[in-house]
């Protein structure tokens, strides 16, 4: 597969940039002719990953978040959200539905489950003290002739 388009963006890990990231990824995905449902899926998954970077990665203190996306010639959209924050000690536990390290902040522990359900693939690389990279992909149907 070869990449036919890509984008990369850096922004501050501030809550108001959550909606900014959603707008950016929606605009980038338009080239794939997505359905309303597909756009909603991608926006929600990116929102979860960016919120996690801000809330958990940087624990509300801010830092740089990187958003990358590629489209390949098989119409696969790959999205990466990376932070350079605290990382995750126990990834298996973190990815369990309903697990949250911040229950008193009224978090549901649903972020990873949402990313998993709304995208076709999810991969997480993390190193304690270094940061977290979330890679998600979504396959789009062949273009109508």
């Amino acid at each position: 597969m070869s990449i036919v388009n890509h984008m990369q963006l850096e922004f501050s890990g501030r809550p108001q940039n959550e909606s900014f990231a959603r707008v950016v990824i929606s605009a980038f995905a338009v080239q794939l002719g997505p359905t309303i449902e597909e756009i909603a899926d991608i926006k929600t998954a990116v929102s979860e990953a960016v919120t996690n970077a801000i809330v958990h990665g940087y624990e509300g203190r801010g830092g740089t978040v990187t958003l990358r996306a590629t489209v390949d010639d098989a119409r696969l959209l790959t999205v990466e959200v990376e932070d350079y924050g605290r990382g995750i000690d126990d990834l298996d536990q973190a990815m369990q539905p309903f697990y949250t390290s911040k229950p008193d902040a009224e978090r549901a522990g649903m972020g990873f489950a949402v990313m998993q359900t709304f995208m076709d693939g999810l991969e997480v690389q993390t190193a304690p003290g270094k940061g977290t990279l979330v890679r998600m992909c979504k396959q789009f149907a062949p273009e109508a002739k």
């Binding site: 809550p15 919120t51 978090r107 649903m110 949402v114």
Partner: protein, 101 residues
């Protein structure tokens, strides 16, 4: 982002716009100010004007459910779009929050 109406022990609140982590704090504060009135037992959330919600919104709903369940009340929702309904279902909220019309 919120309009409300009160009828006896029932408070109806209409949420508008996007309910993400950035918006959650304000919505939580506004709802809690309205729920400070102990006479309110039932909260009906009208989500018809909500264009986006993620797991941060789920957290807000669960938190208000806890408040009302603690005083013997209920939370119900109406006007969910299919996308919000899917997240709602995934989080198991249909078991604690009723759908009203």
């Amino acid at each position: 982002m919120l309009q409300h109406a009160r009828q006896r022990d029932t408070l109806t609140v209409r949420l508008n716009g996007e309910l993400d982590h950035a918006a959650a704090e304000g919505v939580r504060r506004d709802l809690d100010a309205l729920l400070a009135d102990q006479r309110v037992l039932h909260l009906v959330l009208d989500l018809d004007g909500l264009t986006f919600m993620d797991s941060s919104g789920i957290g807000v709903l669960i938190g208000r459910y806890r408040t009302l369940a603690g005083r013997g009340g209920t939370v119900s929702v109406r006007g969910m779009n299919p996308h919000i309904a899917r997240i709602f279902q995934m989080a198991g909220l249909h078991r604690i929050i009723n759908k009203s019309c």
